[in-house]
Amino acid sequence: MLSTLVALTLIGSTVVAPASHSAQAPAWPSQTAKLKGVTLTMWCAAASLAIPKSVISSFERVTGAKIKVVTIPDPYESPVLAKIATGDKPDVAFWSPTKSGLTSINAKANLLSLNGAPWISSVDPALRDVFGLLGTTRYAALIGTPNLVGMFYNKEAFAKAGITTLPKNFTQMTAAAVKLKAAGITPFYDAAKDAWPTQFMVQSLLGDAAKSGWYQKLNSREAKFTDPTFINAVTTYKALIDQGLYNSDIKSGTFAAQTTALLKGDVAMVNQGSFLGPALLAEAGDAATLDAKIGYFGISPTSNLTLSLPGQTDAIVAFKTGNAKREAATKQFLAYWMGQGYAAFLDDRSYISLQPKVPSPSTVPKLFIQVASGLKNSVGAIQSQALATPDIHVYLSNMINGTMTIEEVAQAMQTQFEQLAKAQGAKGF
């Protein structure tokens, strides 16, 4: 009986003792400090497994730590939120660095603050504080140029239709599309089956409104999705489809088919995020082939504005796990990734450097640099500026299939937006 009591007390004390240490937030550890015996868990989407591979193996080699990568099934964000709701947390994961992204994961409660991190001062000032912050606290570390949305076009298709200058506004782009159709080339391609690509044209059409602060008005309830601003954007998009300027199999279109069609020249223009770049590169085989075939320009109603729409592949976050040792190791991993391991990481991924002192690798296709340069003339998309992002792609896909009218799309957007804002506890909702 006594021995049982002693055993129980010993067990109890070992459980209680470490918990009392986690109250203190650890300072930023040295990047290459030894971490033998420490295992960290990283959550990663299936399509992004290649991204952290090289930096993980070099970190493991240098410090002796072990990082276990857990694949999260598509669509990534939902399973992650579901797992966190059940109390399952990783040490580090990919996550969107936008305000709405960080709010949805309840950053204040779940994530470690990255304020005072050693790499922050090395980042390009123009990019440093644009994303990853909620209020004054930094929660996400940007690992690459944030996803930018614009028009990827096939150079050969443009040449065949006799288009010599790039469109500078929407009217010019529509005129170019009509010319392409006359030359027997499908002007645009959209993927209503995958659904998520359908949002980009409408978002590009809202570019000017985004620049003039329409999303702030939305957040303060001065504007609504049911206003003419949004309805006109959706109407213009639908008109393009009805005019026959989109692929005839739009209802069964997929991202994979979109990539192939653009590269082959069956389709002239695709409105997509910059993550289309790596997909095109993988299919083209090498940078030279890609650069010869594909070009890029930003587009909005009146100019060549680009939309910035960072997604989960653009940033990483560190979680509050209550285990001081692992939290320190996670911070060390992030510091290494953005510090000593940064150049090798860029080389491995052919990413563009966000730090002026670290040069971009020479293997980066000219197309990627062209896309990234759009950041200087960019404006945040719904995901970046609005309090919450309704399922715009679901409603637009329904509209393409004929089961929702334009007004119903707008109403559904507004209803869901209000619902999400209310759940967030946003003022005025």
Binding site: P75, E77, S78, L81, A82, I84, A85, T103, S104, I105, N106, A109, A192, K193, A195, D249, K251, S252, D391, V394, S397, N398, I400, N401, G402, T403, M404, T415, Q416, Q419, L420, A423, Q424, G425
Partner: protein
């Protein structure tokens, strides 16, 4: 001892009635372990499902507060829930019809215990134990506009045939319910086979002697006597498919245009947006719907069994 005394002795003997006999060999506390699991994995989640529907639980904050009926008023005013309920019930009815039709046909076809029939029965049971998600992905590939099925049609038609199996806003719901029925028809077949085998052979022989044809025997004798099997099959196929998710998610993701959006798909979407309380409220509505359908259905089928 005379007979009367013997009877009196028998009557005086304390009677061990059935209940106490049962108690001595099967004490009530034998059931405690099973009950324990039932409580933890079934009753507690169901109660929590009920409780959380009336809160504002979401991924945006850690506190959970009561919010009354606001989730339900919001759900029913949006129109989405009612539309999805309608689609789910339609799907369930189609599955019940197809699954039992196919299962019954297979049972009749493979009734005799030949080697070929035994192999066929096993083959038709394989889809039942396959992962539903895998079935969905296989059919998604097979029913592509330029996929194998259309290629076969094109071959026989001599011209390109591109039937949009999974892209019709009217008919895709029928296609996905056929896929679901295909997956589970082996189980229906098994139950019907068992039911057919329990029919007294003397009754069938009598019918044969009386000159009844195969079809007449089927219609007037075997089908009515299959009532218990039909009760089981119709109830499980109808009520089970209301909880369907995997096959539709893998093939159409609720499209095209939301015409195959089962309630579970909408629930997953709401959950993915971080609106946990709303998703829980929706699943409570589904639970109530299934119960509302289940009681009259099973009652009427059982009544039919008793009559027949």
């Amino acid at each position: 001892m005379n007979a009367g005394a013997k009877v009196k002795l028998l009557l005086k003997r304390p009677r061990i009635n059935a209940a106490s006999k049962a108690h001595s060999t099967h004490p009530i506390w034998f059931i405690v372990p099973a009950f324990f699991f039932l409580i933890i994995f079934f009753i507690v989640p169901t109660v929590l499902n009920f409780v959380y529907s009336f809160t504002d639980w979401s991924s945006f904050k850690t506190e959970v507060n009561f919010s009354g009926f606001s989730n339900f008023t919001q759900l029913f005013s949006s129109g989405n829930l009612v539309a999805d309920l309608r689609i789910t019930i339609l799907y369930a009815v189609l599955v019940a019809v197809f699954q039992n039709l196919f299962g019954f046909a297979l049972a009749l076809l493979l009734e005799r215990d030949t080697l070929l029939n035994r192999i066929a029965r096993a083959s038709f049971f394989i889809p039942v134990i396959m992962s539903a998600l895998a079935v969905g992905y296989v059919f998604q590939a097979v029913l592509e506009p330029k996929g194998p099925v259309n290629s076969i049609f094109s071959f026989f038609a001599g011209r390109p045939v591109e039937i949009p199996w999974l892209y019709s806003t009217t008919w895709t719901i029928v296609v996905v319910s056929v896929i679901h029925a295909w997956k589970w028809m082996g189980l229906a077949m098994l139950i019907f086979l068992a039911g057919l085998k329990t029919i007294d052979s003397e009754v069938l022989e009598a019918a044969r002697i009386d000159g009844a044809s195969w079809f007449q025997t089927l219609r007037t004798i075997r089908f009515p006597l299959l009532a218990p099997a039909i009760t089981f099959n119709v109830a499980t196929s109808l009520l089970g498919s209301m909880n369907s998710f995997d096959i539709v998610q893998a093939t159409t993701q609720g499209g095209p245009g939301g015409t195959t959006e089962l309630l579970n798909i909408y629930i997953v979407r709401a959950f993915g947006q971080g609106l946990f309380a709303q998703a829980t409220a929706m699943s409570l509505v589904l639970l109530v719907m299934v119960m509302v359908l289940a009681f009259p259905l099973i009652w009427s089928l059982r009544k039919r069994e008793q009559i027949l």
